[in-house]
Symmetry: C2
Subunit: 389 residues, 2 copies
């Protein structure tokens, strides 16, 4: 076994996959590693933090979003202390977009630009955010971004992976174009973090948000993260300034604060559930020492192996995603008029895929727990599903 192979064998062993089950869902839900589940159960032991810790663990808990942020920072190419956690993705988007809008002091820019590849519900959320900020949401074709960066655009808010096609966006290029147009970027890394190499600092990006429930394995509804560039963290005014905005020292504090506030805390609004944070904190320990280049290459290689097998054995499926791994996220999306039935049939055969629309089959490759041994049974099951339609 190659060195990479043995690293990934170890990471796969960290998950409780039942024998014979192949989990290839490309939806926003990844699996939780055993260590996260065990950590939660320990927290729930009699006498644990959930019992009487309150008065003892409060300071530690309040600092947990920052400490978890420090574990996410290297996965997105930013520095320690620049990432925080909290709430749902929707709120983090609100904080990021409002903070970006707050930076304009010159001629008024009032457009939040995004693209049609977002789901209807994501567009509804962004519509609400734009309205709350006194801005307008402009929804454009994703291929026409460079034509639409007009001088009324305040923010380009985009997913790093097109959720309709799994096409990967070039964060560095789009950020540069956006800056040349005088606007700022808010990247949604939900479908990218933990599967692709991301270098926000290298791309000179401005803001980023992301869910942590897919490739970061934090569990369903795990807290979302928020990053703001240190180029302007001192100057932004998010719409909602929480209790962290200007945290005073505790009045009875005699020693130095063991958890000095971080600048990114200015964008924090409260402290999420200790339980949810603890699970995510434990799940992120899996990433210590892993090489992001190898992770990203593995996601791509798994996809290439799968699509070659599907090409050979599953006529009738039309690939919507790019055929080139480097142009894709970690998912493959196929068109088939009966994709919903295929998904159910796969599930009955122990292969979990997902169906983002009735005619779309999505297969996701999580580098930490999928490996090449998943390909053959999944493609056999797909062949079988197609044969029995």
């Amino acid at each position: 076994m190659s060195e990479d192979g043995s690293i990934f064998a170890r990471s796969k062993a960290a998950f409780d996959l039942p024998d014979g089950l192949v989990y290839l869902a490309g939806s926003r839900f990844g699996l939780m590693p055993r260590s996260a589940k065990e950590r939660l159960c320990r927290l729930m032991m009699p006498g644990g933090a959930a019992d009487l810790g309150s008065e003892r663990f409060t300071a530690d808990w309040e600092d947990l979003p920052g400490r978890i942020g420090d574990k996410i920072a290297p996965l997105i190419g930013v520095r320690q202390g620049e990432v925080t956690l909290g709430e749902t993705l929707q709120l983090q988007l609100f904080q990021a977009i409002s903070a970006a809008v707050s930076l304009y002091t010159g001629p008024k820019r009032t457009v939040v630009l995004t693209d049609t590849s977002n789901s209807a519900s994501d567009l509804a959320v962004m519509e609400g955010i734009a309205r709350a900020l006194g801005c307008r949401l402009r929804v454009i074709d994703p291929t026409r971004i460079c034509y639409c960066l007009c001088d009324d655009v305040a923010v380009l808010a985009m997913s790093a992976v097109n959720v309709q096609t799994a096409e990967r966006r070039d964060i560095a290029t789009l950020t540069r174009l956006t800056h040349e147009a005088g606007a700022l970027t808010v990247w949604d890394l939900s479908h990218a973090v933990g599967a692709l190499e991301i270098d926000l600092a290298g791309a000179c990006a401005d803001f980023a948000v992301g869910r942590t429930e897919q490739y970061l394995n934090g569990g369903p509804g795990a807290p979302a993260f928020l990053w703001a560039s240190n180029r302007f963290i001192d100057r932004v005014t998010p719409a909602l300034q929480g209790q962290k905005a200007d945290r005073p020292s505790s009045p009875d504090q005699t020693a130095a604060d063991p958890h000095p506030p971080r600048k990114i805390d200015r964008l924090r609004l409260g402290t999420p559930s200790l339980i949810a944070l603890t699970a995510l904190d434990a799940a992120l320990d899996l990433w210590a020492g892993l090489d992001l280049t190898a992770i990203s290459q593995r996601a791509g290689a798994l996809g290439q192996a799968f699509l070659a097998e599907v090409d050979a054995h599953c006529p009738g499926l039309t690939l919507i995603s790019p055929r080139i791994a480097a142009a894709r996220g970690a998912e493959l999306i196929y068109h088939h008029p009966k994709a919903a039935h295929l998904t159910q049939s796969l599930q009955a055969q122990g292969v979990i895929a997902d169906c983002p629309a009735p005619d779309r089959l999505r297969i996701g490759f999580a580098p930490l727990y999928n490996d090449f041994s998943d390909i053959d049974p999944a493609v056999r099951a797909l062949e079988q599903a197609l044969a029995t339609l």
Copy 2:
């Protein structure tokens, strides 16, 4: 043992209190019952929802905030389907205040009125909310509310229990005065729900929010709830309209939706952590069949018993809270110049109280797990703490 006594003996037995420990912290953190911790651990079992449920449990999970809301509804005197869960208290306050402000169609009212008894961090949050809505926050002395309900006031946002004094507010009277002044109310029930009788519908209240981590035992950072009166749930426009605002039917849905959207979902923004929701859901099962009048009377009676003992044995402590149980929340707050040291000394003796300010000692009585047997050891420990200052 009286019938009430045996009911409360059962509820106390639902918690994992170590022998000899007396938990009387009046902070926002209550204990989690064993059943909630066990439910979480079951969720974490191999093959449980955290593993592969994603595709199977999604619809159920998305409906969980509403189902939990239905368990909270009877505790605050409102109907099924009117309460939802999500995020932190701060976001729920934002949704409630912005929804209230959205109802004004006549002359512009731009003041959010609150009082000086809120903590500095709560005031900072409300300041941020008011600013985000283009309103101003006006912070007044709590005794002067009826003088300050001017015709520029849009919303009176108050805690149902004064956190500085534990004085209980008269929700019905203040709501009536506010309505007569042409404004709306947003009640923060964090320190009241689960300890006091609350009848929002009877009080003709408008909006309410609350944490669920104190007397509802949802665990640290448990999701906060939000209620809006059905008098105007169809008309409000919260600042942040989430994916739930106008949820379309699933395109491949052939049967009837098992979880039809609730009107209160219009104020929801995303779905909180499954893990955090599950713990709270289990914790709320303790309330089935409990009588809120008995709960409230018990909190009051525990307080009266404690303060009589302190009067007799602990000179030097000055009661800040009202002496009449019916005028109080479930806490007693004392002034003592060395309250922080007293709190530490109590803790060393196995009595957990809390210290909201260096010269304030706060004792909270959770009807579900505190009983009269806690009074004597707590007062003895306090005597001892005072004697050794």
